[in-house]
């Protein structure tokens, strides 16, 4: 498959096109370069290993990985339903589930409060009957990140399922495999590249989540203050620390995205 991909054809593109692409690329590279220039390299390590930074980093990893796990558990079945089942209102439901991708995250946070807050639709009951209190807790931060990040997994996996050759599933079924077996042994392995890509995108989005988290879960070090929140507050008191913390987020995301690209294309 890989050999049939068009390679190195770019040079035949019109010069204007290449120029526009160059401007487009510079638009993304320059802000990064700006950050690098401003980074206080001398004190970077000290800033990075400060208690606040370590606490925020640890919480960010915990929250974003948990959010990704939750997104996989609920998002894969959702993607499957969108790809395979025809039912009335499917398009509306799909639009609703990917809405957080375009919704301002702060609005998402307010909506989460309206659902899971103390006076929310479900929140009052959760607190009274089950004793679960979500706002201002790490669980709340995870919920906020899941809300914003899960759509990335759903649409990626759905696209994978739609692009899949259904004959493999049919063959398995004619050979007597039960539905769970088909799902586990045929469908999921076949969409694995999409699943991996979706999970990684979801994780990267969760890692960078800010607005919904600060609105729904608040900001408290060690409990709900994830890296982006720590960066935001540090920007006001200690801009150098904020830049170093941002660089960590950038580096992690960049490594993931570069790795993802090879894996995604290489595995298809």
């Amino acid at each position: 498959m890989a050999s049939s991909r068009p390679r190195l054809r770019g040079l035949s593109a019109p010069p204007l096109f290449i120029l526009l692409a160059g401007v487009g690329a510079a638009f993304f590279v320059l802000p990064l370069a700006g950050l690098l220039v401003r980074t206080p390299w001398g004190s970077a390590w000290q800033l990075l290993t400060s208690t606040e930074a370590i606490t925020a980093l640890r919480l960010s990893l915990l929250a974003s990985l948990s959010a990704t796990a939750i997104a996989i558990v609920f998002g894969v079945p959702l993607a499957w339903i969108f790809a395979r089942l025809a039912f009335p209102g499917r398009n509306i439901l799909r639009a609703l589930t990917v809405l957080p991708m375009v919704l301002p995250p702060v609005v998402g946070g307010v909506a989460l409060l309206a659902a899971f807050g103390r006076r929310g639709l479900l929140g009052g009951w959760l607190e009274q009957a089950v004793g679960i209190h979500l706002p201002f807790t790490t669980a709340g931060a995870i919920l906020a990140e899941t809300f914003v990040a899960m759509p990335f997994l759903v649409i990626t996996v759905e696209a994978g399922l739609r692009g899949m050759d259904l004959r493999f599933e049919d063959a398995a079924r004619t050979l007597g495999a039960r539905r769970w077996t088909v799902l586990w042994r045929v469908t999921l392995p076949l969409v694995r590249p999409s699943l991996v890509a979706g999970a990684v995108l979801c994780w990267a989005r969760a890692l960078g989540e800010f607005g919904a988290t600060i609105t729904f879960a608040g900001n408290f070090p060690g409990r709900t203050q994830t890296m982006p929140l720590a960066v935001y507050l540090a920007l006001e008191t200690n801009p150098e620390a904020a830049i170093v913390l941002s660089l960590v987020l950038l580096a992690v995301s960049l490594v993931v995205l570069i790795g993802l690209h090879d894996r995604w294309l290489g595995a298809s």
């Binding site: 409060l113 807050g117 103390r118 006076r119 706002p135 201002f136 600060i214 879960a217 608040g218 900001n219 408290f220 070090p221 709900t224 203050q225 935001y232 507050l233 920007l235 006001e236 008191t237 801009p239």
Partner: protein, 256 residues
């Protein structure tokens, strides 16, 4: 409305300002003022400054006052990063001092209002909060401003004076977010400015903090060095000093 001699005085004041005498107070009226300015102002000033801005524009047709409201420390960071504006009004002196130290201001800041702290609770005070000491009660969800924000630092000072240790559920990035958390019912109490309680209306109410424990916040205002319209910036600050106190008092601010 303005008697003629005042106009002459204004001309003199403007002339002095044009001569680069930065310590000269801004002109009391603005004959010939035009153009627009951007005012960076602490979020606790949102309602009062919006009203004053409208009044000023009415008094001086052809002028336009734009506001950017945010936490004082956020605004300082923005100006330090090169945000262009004309006037800066902060909720504390230490933030504006950062700009003065960085050479980003023209002239020295002047105090135009004061504010003090109040405990904000839901309307009807369902948790029966009577003072700072109640905030350490277990089961009470308390939200404060982050220590980096003026309201957070003041709240810390007040709690220290009262010898009360509070573990907040959240340290919000600005004072309005603290009020919002109480309005939405997520938090039972927060420490904010008297003016924020007043601005939030009937959904919340304030519990007074006695003066010995309270912290008085001075609100300074200054012209920024990169101002493109110094005349209008000075006129606006002059207007705040002359006509502002009455409007500011309506929103709960104390006179300087």
């Amino acid at each position: 409305m303005q008697p003629k001699p005042l106009g002459a005085f204004t001309a003199t004041a403007l002339l002095l300002a044009a001569c680069g005498n930065a310590s000269q107070p801004a002109s009391p009226t603005g004959v010939g003022l035009s153009g627009s300015i951007t005012v960076f102002a602490a979020s606790s000033l949102t309602a009062a400054f919006t009203t004053i801005g409208t009044d000023f524009q009415k008094a001086h047709p052809g002028t336009m006052i734009h506001f950017a409201f945010a936490g004082s420390s956020t605004l300082v960071a923005q100006v330090q990063q090169g945000a262009i504006g004309d006037v800066f009004a902060s909720a504390d002196e230490s933030n504006i001092q950062k700009l003065v130290n960085a050479g980003l201001t023209a002239g020295s800041p002047s105090i135009f209002a004061r504010n003090k702290l109040q405990i904000v609770v839901q309307a009807g005070n369902p948790k029966h909060v009577t003072g700072l000491a109640d905030l350490s009660r277990s089961g009470l969800v308390v939200v404060l401003c982050a220590p980096a924000v003026p309201c957070g630092r003041y709240a810390g000072q007040a709690l220290q004076k009262a010898n009360v240790i509070v573990t907040p559920a959240s340290e919000e990035a600005d004072v309005k977010s603290v009020v919002t958390k109480v309005v939405l019912g997520e938090a039972d109490a927060g420490i904010v400015y008297v003016t924020d309680v007043k601005a939030a209306g009937a959904q919340v109410q304030g519990v007074d903090i006695p003066d010995p424990l309270n912290v008085i916040a001075d609100y300074p205002i200054v012209v920024l060095k990169d101002s493109q319209n110094v005349a209008l910036a000075k006129a606006f600050i002059g207007y705040i000093h002359a006509n502002g106190p009455r409007t500011l008092a309506r929103y709960g601010f104390l006179p300087p």
